[in-house]
Amino acid sequence: MTDLNKLYKQTILEHNRNPRNFGKPESWTHHAEGLNAICGDLVNVYLTIEEDVISSIAYDGESCAISMASASMMTEFIKNRTVKDALEKFELFCQLMAKGSDVKHIDDLAALNHLVTVKKFPSRIKSATLCWHAMAAAINGQATATTE
């Protein structure tokens, strides 16, 4: 199987078929919109933060399968973490996905490591990181985030 096939078959499509935490919730305390102007990708991230813990997290939007799967994986991974922990994981995820870096695996990121294959398609890295930028923006009280 090619890298591309592997990426889609093993990771992306599973989350596309069974997206976790998808849909706009009834209430939230923090929200930001992630916008990738060049691709037209759009992801909304909604957080409920109670006593510094992200007690719930959801997303919706309109974008490619990579971006939607990454958001699904992120919400699963981030839920019930402290804000500080979530922001640290955001930094780690950025390190994992940095264009041109040869980081192949970061233990703390667990299943998110599957997305490292996206690095082989550099034009798509921003699809995978968009939701993370939106989450960090929401925590920091910004309304919108971009990957630029």
Binding site: Y8, C39, G40, C64, I66, S123
Partner: protein, 405 residues
């Protein structure tokens, strides 16, 4: 008849592999590949004639100037302009629109006046007008389109009011391929005394363009879409307009006399060409124009028609594929969506089969807002593409669909 094989051989960029597969280049509407003669013309300037133009008495400067001015003549011939002096070298269509907006149109509009464009415009023929409207209080009006991606021309007469000061419309849509009946549109606008600019970015690579027959006031050409260099292009303008227009950029070359008190501008077209231009680009663009004329625009049009009908039929065999825009008059550009698969995923997957297409909104967001889509896949053909390449595209699309099953 056009011998496709021979012409393919003249485009070195077509003969390479992507992800181990032969390149199938179907992103010609974004930018075309360049023939060897264009690459050679650029190289020849830098190697044998490298000098600044219009300012040296030495031999190299003279030969460089000749090459540059001959390129202007080639473009005048391609467009059937009355004189090469009616052509201004620019960076591309984007600069041409901004130039006309900020010189010709800005000096004519006041608060409440109207500028008319169409729903099919590229962002480069929308945003410069919005800037002008902000500066002057003028109002932007839009000719609507229908589900086929054709303009609703029956509304044109009503949209041309006594407040309309300028109309700027695209000749051929880059997103949908629609060929607008621009000659008729120009006539309607002129009947109301409204000058017209046509965006020819996607027309010159495909159609025989005759600016005198169209009777347009301005016509824009993008070099890189018609097999010429990036950052090259020309703006055609009727001589009386170019004479009357104020300059765009100030600087060297566009003057004939400068003192600290005042400046006398140079004659047209130099008046609009401040600073050292893209000399190699202009020369390369001239070579591209000569190349197209040597093939014959009628041959290119015929080849386009063949490819268009073959590709349309082939694409419709792909399950779940829906074409966006099916204008009666269309160039070989196909925008499409596939049920349940986002355009970017398709783009990435078929790239792995060597197929280059564009995905997204193609700098025409209002078109996709009309269709309620975030974007599309776009396969855009040039005369050097083949039926076999259409088959590779269709095969790759079917494989992408299979992956999602």
């Amino acid at each position: 008849m056009l011998n496709n094989k021979n012409y393919r051989d003249q485009f070195p960029g077509l003969h390479q592999e992507v992800h181990g597969k032969p390149l199938v280049y179907l992103d010609n509407a974004a930018t075309a590949q360049r023939p060897q003669v264009v690459i050679d013309a650029i190289n020849d300037y830098y190697v044998n004639h490298n000098a600044n133009i219009h300012r040296g008495v030495h031999s190299l400067s003279e030969s460089a100037t000749d090459l540059y001015e001959n390129a202007r003549k080639s473009l005048a011939k391609l467009l059937n302009a009355p004189s090469e002096k009616d052509l201004i070298f620019v960076r591309g269509c984007t600069e041409a629109v901004n130039l006309v907006a900020q010189t010709f149109v800005r000096s004519r509009v006041q608060k409440g006046d109207e500028i008319l464009i169409s729903h099919l415009e590229h962002h480069s023929n929308i945003v410069p007008w919005q800037l002008l409207c902000e500066q002057t209080g003028a109002v932007l009006k839009v000719i609507p389109m229908n589900d086929a991606g054709e303009l609703c021309l029956e509304q044109l007469d009503d949209l041309l009011t006594d407040k309309t000061k300028f109309m700027s419309v695209v000749h051929v849509s880059n997103a949908l391929g629609t060929i607008n009946p621009v000659k008729e549109m120009v006539a309607k606008a002129h009947a109301k005394g409204v000058p017209v600019m046509l965006d020819g970015a996607q027309a010159t690579p495909h159609l025989k363009v005759d600016v005198q027959d169209l009777d347009c006031d301005f016509y824009t050409v993008s070099g890189h879409k018609m097999y010429g260099p990036t950052g090259s292009g020309v703006l055609y303008g009727k001589a009386e307009h170019l004479e009357a227009m104020p300059p765009y950029h100030g600087g060297g070359e566009m003057i004939s006399k400068v003192t600290f008190e005042s400046t006398v501008y140079n004659a047209v077209p130099a008046k609009f060409e401040a600073g050292t231009p893209n000399i190699a680009g202009g020369i390369g663009l001239g070579a591209a124009a000569e190349f197209m004329m040597s093939i014959g625009l009628e041959n290119i049009e015929q080849r386009d028609a063949e490819l268009k009908s073959y590709a349309e039929q082939a694409l419709l065999t792909v399950p779940g594929l829906r074409l966006v825009g099916n204008a009666k008059h269309k160039s070989p550009v196909f925008s499409f969506v596939i049920d349940g698969i986002h355009a970017h995923d398709i783009g990435t997957i078929i790239d792995h089969h060597g197929v280059a297409i564009r995905t997204g909104h193609h700098c025409t967001m209002p078109i996709f807002q009309y269709f309620g889509l975030a974007g599309s896949c776009r396969a855009s053909f040039a005369f050097y593409n083949t039926e076999a390449e259409v088959d590779v595209l269709v095969g790759a699309l079917k494989k992408a669909i299979a992956m999602f099953e």
